[in-house]
Amino acid sequence: MTGVASDKRPLLLVEDLVVRFRTHDSLVHAVNGVSFELESGETLGLVGESGCGKSVTSLAMMRLLPKPAGRIEGGRVLFDDFDLVTLPERDMRDLRGREIAMIFQDPMTSLNPVLTIEEQMVETIQAHRKVSTLQARQRAIELLEMVGIPQPETRLRSHPHQFSGGMRQRVMIAIALALEPRLMIADEPTTALDVTIQAQVLELLRHLTTETGTALILITHDLGVVAGMTQRINVMYAGFIVETATTPELFATPSHPYTVGLLHSIPRLDEERPERLIPIEGTPPDQRRAPVGCPFAPRCAWRLEVCWTDNPALEPLEAGVRLVTTGPGATHRIACHNPPTPEEAAAGRPLRDGFVAAAPPGVLLDELAAVDDHVAALPGEEVALFPGDEGPTSTGPSAAGLPLPPEEGRR
């Protein structure tokens, strides 16, 4: 579904990406057909909760999935005419760091604790550029200055554990930007940091990517972070993109029930009166089963019969509109059979009747689902209790006892 974005060819084009994790006793459908594009210099947010596939998508793009369990089983990732999915590993290694860089949630594990910062930065620089150690060191000092580390010459000789969390993350950003990549992927870069440090690091990230023109994919579960950092947002759920729009539009007119649900379940610091939160009932689906129908159906207050059987495709809100995939004019698209009206989106719940079809037979029930104040049901009908996949508990790769891909899974 490659629309005409603009005159520019997109920097990154992901098309129908499918990623699964296989173990001897289970198959986890982590990413189920994800497509999006990214322009040069653009900042895109990938938003969702644990298990939605946002981290896995980026790992797949970088070909960093844990082997042998993680496998890309479909789709293309076009970066500059190269399909990263089929690129030989040697070429991929060359791309990593030089053209595409990634920073992770916990810099303690991404940095080698026994090497000094200098050694790690010089190593990275020299891996991709033929420069002398002295020149690499100079560049390292420049970079540390750029990210605001005081006294960079002395701090070069420190080890990672001698830095605080925020400073380590800055070092990570410095390393990531060392070779001026065209794309940076930041996977929950500030989740582990205190909020005042988070502000520093995000500010730095924004400033630097604007200055250097680096495109940024920001992966996070925090809608507040993307509101201030990104130009466009993809909302993910259970391995699918369920809504994509420019940032102002996503917050002004959220149109997918999940997005609406998320926005109404977060307490806002600037709320006039404490409004009662409207949580999304139920739990995320068990991704060990192949998705049937819309993955959000079990928890959706707007669901219809068809939602159980037919997984809606990502379509523009208004029909007949020319599809723009990137940039400030990007088309607002959702994957939903029965989107909420603007009034319902503002209210956070349906205002019309006739929704919430009961699960058809054959859909197994989530035995352990919690029930709070209300139960969604058609009047007079027996209630199917949060129909979902069989069995309680966890989702995603963690369910299979696999080593989790970094930063996915439980926060």
Binding site: G224, L277, P284, P392, R410
Partner: protein
């Protein structure tokens, strides 16, 4: 709710009536000694985790204790339930000084305050089934027969929204949110008066957090509980709490109602904290100004002299480094009804551009008494890349 043998059934329990003081902390200090040497342990210093905390908690209210890592909020919460013994100061629960209580007397008091823990995966014994976990408080205190305990376990499961038929299951069969509900059920087993919630939702997914928040609010209404809500997420704390105490490096720097804190924060740290919290609304975000604090939090082993915040304080820089910030430790004083602040220059904060722009609200006239301090920032917030308000002299990426 069925009667728990050995406890009262009225939601207010024994003791103070609704609105009266249930818990009072007086200059509570919890210091952890640092020792050196293997055989002869020399005392070389202390981690001053909690260093003089004073507040009162009224029955039926929710007090939020908020701050960043190392501020001492978790230690305070744990000290209240006597997981630590206070180094000095008093903890008075329903008129009884429990700071140094031991043995049977302490155990009796423990029945009336319970704790909810942060990590739903670690706070439940993996080898006990859910029914046993929930009824354990009863078991420990010898309340009820085995059958009564089982019944209560099922009842509590239903109360927290889980299916009672799963009382025989083990924790690993439940999801994170469900496990947290089990933890809540356990805390309710003995009809406590006070529940200390230590980061109860930080480890959960966003959509599940709201479920637990609503659950806690509903239970408070149903059972007349009093909450001490310890968390680092000010958005959540502001939502659920009646009053909020902001902590920094072992002290309370500001204590006031949730609403007041949001509209008129008076401590420079609070203002910085508020400004740093992202709000899920790009329009509001564009109006806001981040205050970037310089440096990292000082170590609690060696706190700064005078005001603990002075090493990072933007107001101090603005005012030209006044002497008092470095030499005199500002006490927590009431500067407006129900509003306590520990700052020499709190009056300068109110009405300042920083305060106004921290939350992105349209400026409103402040009821708190302030001198005529003109806002020092620009009158209209300019949009564009320059969105941070720095302590002068620091670049956009101050460490």
């Amino acid at each position: 709710m069925t009667a728990v043998p050995g406890t009262t059934t009225t939601p207010t329990g024994g003791g103070a009536a609704v609105g009266e003081e249930l818990l009072r902390l007086e200059e509570l200090k919890v210091w952890f000694p640092i020792t050196e040497g293997i055989v002869l342990e020399r005392h070389i210093g202390d981690v001053q985790a909690v260093d003089g905390v004073t507040f009162a908690l009224r029955r039926g209210e929710t007090l939020g204790l908020v701050g960043e890592s190392g501020c001492g909020k978790t230690t305070t919460g744990r000290a209240i339930v006597r997981l630590y013994t206070p180094t000095s100061g008093r903890i008075v629960f329903d008129g009884v000084d429990i700071s140094t209580l031991e043995g049977a007397a302490l155990r009796r008091m423990r029945r009336r305050m319970q704790m909810i823990f942060q990590d739903p995966y670690a706070s439940l014994n993996p080898r006990m089934n859910v029914s046993a976990i929930i009824a354990e408080p009863m078991d420990i205190h010898g309340v009820g027969t085995k059958r009564e305990r089982r019944e209560r376990g099922r009842e509590l499961l239903a109360t927290v929204g889980l299916n009672p038929d799963f009382a025989d299951r083990y924790p690993h069969e439940f999801s994170g949110g469900q496990r947290q509900r089990i933890g809540v059920a356990r805390a309710l087993a003995l009809n406590p008066d006070l529940v200390v919630a230590d980061e109860p939702i930080s480890a959960l997914d966003v959509s599940i957090q709201a479920q637990i928040i609503n659950l806690l609010e509903r239970l408070q209404g149903e059972f007349g509980l009093t909450y001490l809500f310890v968390a680092h997420d000010l958005s959540v704390v502001a939502h659920i709490s009646d009053r909020i105490a902001v902590m920094y490096l072992g002290r309370i720097v500001e204590l006031t109602s949730s609403r007041e804190l949001n509209r008129h924060p008076l401590h420079p740290y609070t203002v910085a904290l508020l400004s740093a919290i992202p709000i899920p609304d790009p329009v509001v975000e564009a109006r806001r100004r981040r205050i970037i604090l310089r440096g990292d939090v000082p170590s609690p082993v060696n706190p700064p002299s005078g005001c603990r915040f002075h090493t990072r304080c933007w107001l101090r820089e603005r005012l030209g480094n006044p002497e008092s910030c470095v030499t005199i430790d500002p006490p927590l004083t009431e500067v407006a009804p129900g509003h306590e602040v520990a700052c020499h220059f709190a009056d300068q904060v109110d009405g300042s551009a920083e305060q106004v722009l921290a939350t992105g609200r349209r400026p409103a006239p402040s009821p708190a008494p302030t001198p005529a301090a003109a806002p020092t920032g620009p009158a209209t917030p300019p949009t564009g890349p320059e969105r941070t308000l720095e302590a002068p002299g620091s670049g956009p990426a101050s460490a």
